[in-house]
Symmetry: C2
Subunit: 338 residues, 2 copies
């Protein structure tokens, strides 16, 4: 891991106002020894048999759509069903699981995979800004379809890159899970942003002053390390204009975001040696209370996994981050992409 | 991982009423392939130089106390300061970090390590019930000391076993972090248990009917797989009698708990092949509102790490568990310890 710049700085406890949770910052933690052999970062097997590669479409669960729509072998993106879904599109959500009443419902929902390239070795960061934009627009299109299902309340788009970030497949892809409930972290975020709005009359993300936390800017977005970052070198990309839902993005903004996202991936890869990471789209529920509209603002989170978590984080929901956000932002800002 | 018994069962979404969060259950998930080489479970280096071993006391941060108190080389347990603490006992909590007001405080607190045995290769499960009880009583004693500090609101006791559960040191130990804030997951738990109490007039843990979720019982405790377990084969150990704070435990109950804990470790180790796990003590804040007393009930959680988590869990706070709790409980109940 890159050295924090101020290893002797005292620990600090900061509040993430967006999620209403605390993070402990302690540079001393990065110096602790380990008597376990270094965790190997598992590498993909040499792959001739990947179902996500072009030519293997028949090994996948059914396709939902492809980009371009009328392509045959020359598709660029495929949105398909997940063959091992966490929730099932075949269940009747209206029908609660018997016996357990309000504490269990049938696992109704949609679990899809977005294959981001036909070529096994191509990552998002290898694509052009316009191509990354097309992946974002494919997500937007699928979300628009999911909105037509009344029982779906929230769609989580996420990407796992690298085995320690959870990936089981190495071919570049994202996933989407459409849920009949609003998940707890999302509710907490909505409530916390609403609280800020009530107190200040402003949206908490419109009101952000990045200053020394800024990494880069584009026409429509800014990227920064959040003040109370959960993970070392965590990055947020925030639309400049107020917007509650990711699916409100248009083509021009998608290409602009594609460029900034690509830049963040390149900086992270160069500085942190292609770390495992998660990319998360934080948006608002579909049946948004109208009163939430002025206070919620969608954004992207990139969470690199430079170290694991332990029992303290699981028990308390407080993470321990050894790198102060100002230091991480400076390091990432200074990485030059030639 | 042990096979779930009903791999073709439909997915279900269950609510954990204690933490007020949802968990997705989907046996299909356990069949998904991976094209990453199997994650190796990092093994400890051959260790001659462990600072936690007897004879290496001088390599450790200062000792707080040892058990027995008057022992020299023949100590059984040592409670010491953490040399790389997440919070610092030297800071002035009253003094908020300048400039950032209510969203950052100095990282005041206590971060201690409990060395559970003088011998490197001895695990908690190798100790007798009375010896495990002594470790629990050492935690109780240290918590009693921390209570005398007015700024401390909550103490989290946790154990990381195995590198994938976060451990950096392989010598058997637990940790304790005493915080000047009540962490978010703890607040959510207190609020959720209070809500149950308001609705039913009962404590949610006193009211639990384990039935098919039961694993084992002792004189003063029961162990079970919770109805909405976050992790596959997760175990809770709950005191039969209502009690808000772990530190209310007495010697007799500590030995009884030691025996049940040892049994759970042995069953888990045998059935799941000595998995990495976290052991967590969920208790109540010190300055407990008196009104919380009837609704909060302390308990232990054992969280085995049979698979990692990914972006979905980080984004939503919803975990995906491939093993239904009834199936996990039956499997663990049936493991015979000779
Ligand atoms: N000579 C010495 N004297 C005193 N103390 C010493 C010492 N040498 C090492 N230590 C301390 O011993 C502790 C050993 O703890 P663990 O192995 O349980 O995990 P660790 O705290 O490293 O991190 C795991 O747990 C934390 C909290 O859950 C997560 O943040 C993290 O990601 C995860 O790896 C370390 O905290 C270390 O600072
Ligand atoms: N032929 C095929 N056709 C269609 N789909 C196929 C397929 N073969 C495999 N798949 C699906 O492709 C997906 C690949 O996803 P990832 O590699 O991002 O992580 P995965 O979902 O396995 O789990 C990670 O992410 C989840 C959610 O965060 C965590 O629960 C988990 O612990 C972590 O490992 C899998 O969900 C799999 O079911």
């Amino acid at each position: 891991m890159a050295e924090a710049e101020t290893p002797n700085r005292s620990p600090e406890i900061r509040k993430d106002k967006i999620h209403n949770r605390w993070v402990l910052f302690s540079p001393a933690r990065s110096r602790r020894p380990s008597d376990f052999k270094a965790k190997s970062n598992p590498q993909p097997n040499n792959q001739t048999e990947c179902p996500f590669c072009a030519g293997h479409e028949h090994e996948c669960a059914p396709e939902i759509f492809r980009v371009p729509a009328d392509s045959t072998n020359d598709w660029k993106i495929r949105v398909i069903q997940n063959l091992y879904p966490a929730v099932s599109r075949e269940l009747d959500f209206q029908n609660p699981v018997s016996l357990v009443g309000d504490v269990a419902v049938s696992g109704f929902g949609f679990h899809d995979v977005v294959i981001e390239s036909p070529v096994h070795s191509v990552n998002l960061s290898d694509l052009s800004p316009a191509q990354v934009g097309e992946v974002l627009l494919a997500c937007k299109k699928r979300i628009a379809q999911l909105r037509s299902c009344d029982s779906i309340k929230y769609v989580q788009v996420f990407k796992n890159h690298g085995a320690s970030a959870g990936a089981s497949m190495s071919h570049s892809h994202s996933q989407m899970i459409a849920l009949p409930i609003v998940p707890p972290t999302v509710s907490a975020r909505l409530d916390s942003m609403m609280e800020y709005y009530k107190q200040t009359g402003k949206c908490s993300l419109c009101d952000i002053q990045p200053n020394e936390l800024l990494i880069a800017e584009s026409a429509h977005f800014i990227s920064l390390v959040p003040f109370a970052a959960t993970f070392a070198f965590e990055i947020w990309i925030i639309p400049r204009d107020h917007s509650s839902h990711f699916h409100e993005i248009d083509s021009e903004k998608a290409v602009d975001l594609g460029g900034l996202l690509k830049l963040m991936f390149l900086k992270m890869s160069l500085q942190l040696n292609n770390p495992p990471f998660n990319l998360l789209i934080h948006t608002s529920p579909f049946q948004d209370e109208p009163s939430y509209a002025p206070s919620t603002h969608w954004f992207l989170q990139i969470a690199p996994h430079l170290s694991g978590v332990g029992g303290f984080e699981i028990a308390t929901g407080c993470h321990i981050n050894p790198v102060f956000p100002e230091d991480a932002a400076k390091i990432l800002r200074d990485v030059r992409i030639s």
